[in-house]
């Protein structure tokens, strides 16, 4: 499998990984463009890097931990100002899982859970 070449099927797979919805025309277009870019960078494979360590960033700092102290954070109202849809102090989104009549689990949350979630 040549990493410097993509097929339209692979492009479809990448689009799914990237959560992009491509039309068949866009899939063809991206295949063409990605192949052109990959062809241009193909020369990299001839460089021997077996003994080389990767460098992920250049600030030469190690993980820096902050002190375990309480600090005020932004109030929820400020954060939720940008929410496309909200309910109370929650971001509201369409269902993630299918609801079946049998598996309706609205009772699965106790009243206490709902309150603590701000419902």
């Amino acid at each position: 499998m040549d990493p410097y070449q993509v097929t339209p099927e692979l492009v479809k797979h990448i689009a799914a990984l990237a959560s992009l919805d491509l039309t068949p025309k866009e899939e063809m277009q991206f295949s063409k463009e990605l192949n052109r870019i990959l062809d241009h960078i193909k020369h990299l494979q001839s460089i021997n890097t077996e003994e080389v360590e990767p460098v992920f960033h250049t600030s030469w700092t190690l993980n820096r931990l902050r002190k375990d102290e309480e600090n005020p954070s932004l109030p929820p109202s400020m954060i939720l100002r940008n929410a496309p849809e909200r309910e109370g102090n929650l971001f509201k989104i369409p269902p993630v899982l299918e609801m079946t009549s049998k598996g309706d689990d609205s009772e699965a949350f106790s009243e206490e859970d709902k309150t603590s979630n701000g419902l």
Binding site: S19, H40, R64, I79, P94, P95
Partner: protein
């Protein structure tokens, strides 16, 4: 009174002596903005009311002679990927069209603390991906020197605003040349600081290991004052270097206030021109500008030598793998859930996909695709990891070369500004315009673009200077000898 054509230093003197007020200065710049914007389109949002309040506060500071800095009362523009609380920050993307940040970027806090006046948010390539400002979802910015040309990108709006007299200085960001290339196309000075010395907190992430905020202004001196303001350790940025900007200022030659001393610093320095930087695709006008700059440095007593940096041949390819990979990861957050665009659908999965496909422009999608591919199972080692190893080689190559030379001199861009529409349909050709600026981001070193003359078509041409880490002020000092500042603003 016409004040918009002056440098930050000149204006600081006028403000300090109370010959002009911050309000007068702001009025002059706003008038210029309203005059030029129809033909330039540098701004996405103007903050007139807030700016007026900031200018009044600055005037009070001058009256009381309290907390005065070089930036007090100075009108500054901010690129639209840097968060300013309560004003739209869109990254020139449909995805963030309605996004209002709930906090200020650290660099914005620092500007406000110093008494600067924030004019507005400037246009850019969407999510800072592009080299022409044509990838903006809100229409391109035009080059003040020739409105049929691009201003460069991605900080095209910031560079054009300074060049046109619509701002005295500006903040931009640079991931692969996004400050320096537009600075070159618009004939202003642009600095990409050493990675880690300017906080990225509140800068909307593109490729986190490469992104840096930096200044654009009419002179190297002006840039040094903006850098002093925005630089320094910030605990809110995990990659911020634990150094105060004052520690770097030991190298601030301008503070020594004695040009004879700077000259001593240039004398006998060895300045390298990497052969690889003068490739076939570079215009003769640009090559000539580098030669003239080299002559100028030699006349000041420096020694200019040709050097070899063979790893530069693979910098561009390495960059596009790393930058796209990091972008694909950073931009995964735009899903229509917490902020930004949402295209409503019955299921969340569909909502994510439709929102992302509708909200991102073509170039952004192209890079997300390339980056996702480079990180995906089965290709990670051959593409992403390979690129990170090559980055190590590039960095080592620079380290070695800096043992022989204290600075490098190169073109900033292979050409002067190109026409709007000329390269937009061919991503690869567009990428090539960053070939000289990209290595500094990969190596994490500072790089400065200074205008040195004009092309045969009367467009600005610049050269680039590169220095080892933390030598930002050395770059600015040497740049001040090379810069040919245009006396007339287009």
């Amino acid at each position: 009174m016409k004040l918009w054509d002056k440098t930050l230093l000149e204006l600081h003197k006028l403000l300090s002596s109370r010959e002009v007020s911050s309000i007068e200065l702001l009025d002059s710049v706003l008038q210029r903005i309203h005059e030029k914007e129809p033909s330039i389109n540098a701004y996405l949002c103007l903050m007139e009311q807030a700016a007026r309040k900031q200018a009044e506060t600055a005037d009070r500071r001058f009256q009381k002679k309290e907390n005065l800095t070089y930036l007090t009362g100075i009108p500054i523009a901010v690129k639209d990927n840097i968060c300013v609380q309560d004003y739209p920050t869109t990254c020139a993307s449909k995805m963030l069209k309605n996004f209002i940040p709930p906090y200020n970027a650290t660099v914005v806090e620092k500007l406000l603390d110093s008494g600067a006046v924030l004019l507005g948010k400037t246009n850019m390539d969407e999510f800072a991906m592009g080299s022409s400002c044509e990838n903006s979802a809100f229409g391109p910015t035009r080059n003040p020197w020739d409105t049929s040309c691009v201003p460069g990108g991605s900080s095209g709006g910031s560079a054009a605003s300074v060049a046109a007299g619509e701002a005295v200085g500006a903040l931009g960001s640079d991931t692969g040349g996004s400050l320096r290339q537009p600075a070159a196309f618009c004939g202003v000075v642009g600095l990409k600081p050493t990675y880690g010395i300017v906080s990225r907190y509140g800068l909307i992430a593109f490729a986190s290991s490469l992104d840096q905020v930096g200044p654009l202004a009419r002179s190297s001196f002006d840039c040094s004052k903006i850098l002093q303001c925005i630089g320094g350790y910030d605990p809110k940025d995990a990659t911020s270097v634990q150094l105060e900007i004052s520690e770097l200022e030991n190298n601030d030659y301008f503070q020594k206030d004695n040009s004879q001393k700077y000259l001593e610093e240039i004398k006998n320095r060895i300045i390298g021109i990497p052969e690889e930087f003068l490739n076939e695709g570079t215009d003769s006008d640009v090559k000539q500008a580098v030669t003239q700059a080299a002559d100028c440095l030699e006349s000041l007593g420096a020694k200019v030598v040709m050097v070899n940096l063979s790893s530069l041949k693979y910098a561009l390819s390495t960059y596009y793998l790393i930058a796209s990979a990091e972008a694909s990861s950073n931009l995964a957050r735009y899903d229509g859930v917490r902020y930004g665009l949402r295209i409503s659908k019955e299921k969340s999965g569909e909502m994510f996909k439709t929102t992302r496909s509708d909200g991102f422009g073509k170039e952004v999608q192209r890079r997300i695709m390339l980056g996702t591919y480079a990180l995906s199972s089965g290709y990670y080692d051959a593409l992403y990891l390979k690129a990170q190893k090559l980055r190590h080689l590039i960095k080592q190559d620079f380290d070695k070369a800096f043992q022989k030379c204290s600075l490098f001199l190169t073109p900033t861009s292979p050409t002067a500004a190109f026409k709007i529409g000329e390269k937009i349909s061919d991503p690869l050709t567009m990428y090539l315009s960053d070939i000289y600026t990209i290595p500094a981001n990969l190596a994490g070193i500072p790089a400065l673009s200074v205008p040195v003359g004009f092309s045969s078509k009367n467009l600005p041409i610049s050269v680039q200077l590169l220095a080892p880490r933390f030598q930002d002020f050395l770059l600015l000092m040497v740049g001040s000898f090379l810069e040919k500042l245009s006396l007339e603003i287009p």
